[in-house]
């Protein structure tokens, strides 16, 4: 059952990544386990780092927003020297990270991501994490 759910989540993000030419890849990270469960990003990332990112979004930045009276954290935009990333909650159990080009249309992608996260949340509603299901980002 869990494997079936994961395969559906994978299909969803594959479809999204394919449909947006400026999206370089997406990673769905389970919380609180901090493990990637679906991935279209072709590259190496430290799994501990991925876990820390999920904790940052779910815990630190969420509480920063609350403390600063900015409500619940909806998403996080990250601007880097050569690219961008949007990190968004996908329900209580996961976050979705989308890695995009420097020149990408941030708001179009963020809009698309909102729908995607709703679908991911629905799929993960009855998902039970099994260690064997985690994805190795070192591939």
């Amino acid at each position: 059952m869990s494997a079936e759910i994961l395969s559906k989540v994978n299909d969803l993000i594959k479809q999204f990544t394919k449909s947006q030419s400026d999206v370089q890849g997406q990673i769905v990270i389970l919380f609180p386990e901090g493990v990637p469960i679906a991935n279209t990003w072709k590259g190496k990332i430290d799994p501990i780092l991925v876990g820390a990112i999920s904790a940052a979004v779910k815990l630190t930045f969420q509480s920063l927003c609350k403390n600063m009276k900015k409500g619940n954290l909806k998403r996080l935009f990250m601007n880097n020297e050569y690219g961008r990333a949007i990190i968004q909650n996908a329900g209580p159990k996961a976050i979705l990270t989308t890695i995009i080009d420097q020149e990408a249309d941030l708001f179009r992608i963020a809009f698309g991501m909102s729908n995607l996260t709703i679908d991911i949340e629905k799929l993960l509603k009855n998902f039970n994490y099994d260690k064997d299901l985690g994805i190795d980002l070192d591939d």
């Binding site: 370089q24 919380f31 609180p32 386990e33 901090g34 990003w41 590259g43 190496k44 990332i45 430290d46 501990i48 780092l49 876990g51 820390a52 990112i53 999920s54 904790a55 940052a56 815990l59 630190t60 930045f61 509480s63 920063l64 927003c65 403390n67 600063m68 009276k69 900015k70 409500g71 619940n72 954290l73 909806k74 998403r75 996080l76 935009f77 990250m78 601007n79 880097n80 020297e81 050569y82 690219g83 961008r84 990333a85 890695i99």
Partner: protein, 296 residues
Amino acid sequence: MIKMVELLDFLKEIEDITDINGCYFINVEESKVIKSTITYTPSEEILWEICVLRDTFRQFSSGINHGDLMELMLEGDKGYILLYNIPPKLILLAMASEDINLSYVRLAMLDIINRVRKCVEEFGEQLLKPPEEIPVITIDKPRMRHLEEPAIKPATPIPAKVKAPAMPAPSKVKAPTAPVIQVPAKVETPIELVEGKGLEDLIKSISTETGTQRNQILRKIFDELKIKITKLKGTEISKLIELLKDTILETMGTSLALFDISKCAQDLSKLNKPISPDSIKRYQERVENWATRIIK
């Protein structure tokens, strides 16, 4: 030629030309606000985490081949928080309401941040000195119009860890009074803290305990770790810390502290000698910091 501009003047400029209300400069090394336009300051815990997160996101950014981190923007239901990375050790944090013209703000910030970066590059330490006292800077009332009053809680004092009662040393020196009641020494300790067991075993035992028991074990582990830091080689401590990280990750899930633990283990793995006396306190504080984050 770059003119030296006070950091506070940059903050005032940001508030003058944009609708941002409330911004800070945070010194990452000290995890402290060094300049601010409002009196409210995030808690020490949050400041510390923001500073650690800068490194986390910088690594993530370089991990995905995007170069260095420039900016993080948090979008909340009721507004935005902007965080700018200003190397080597500054973060600019700015707050904006939900109806702000984001494109305009980001455009304006581009220029200001550029100038701040150049100024910091040129004058460095002169600008970065933290104030002697907590910055209390008043701002003009009109600028306060969007500012929802942050609930200023009395800064939650980091509970001074009451070390003594946690692990009372078994009182071997018993009063020589007559009918000695055979009270087993264990009664005094809240948990049977595995006499003779090494720190490694103690760490492994985390996975078999739950709730209060687990927290007591964790407390003991962190206290022991602080002692070990004064005695063992960096490589040895690194192994212990690595084991601790893996066990916590498997048992309790991820947390930001784990990332710092992992980084610390990596740093220490290169040190094939005891930690230098002037660094010991820093490492011990770091361990205490993990304790406050992990033990809930």
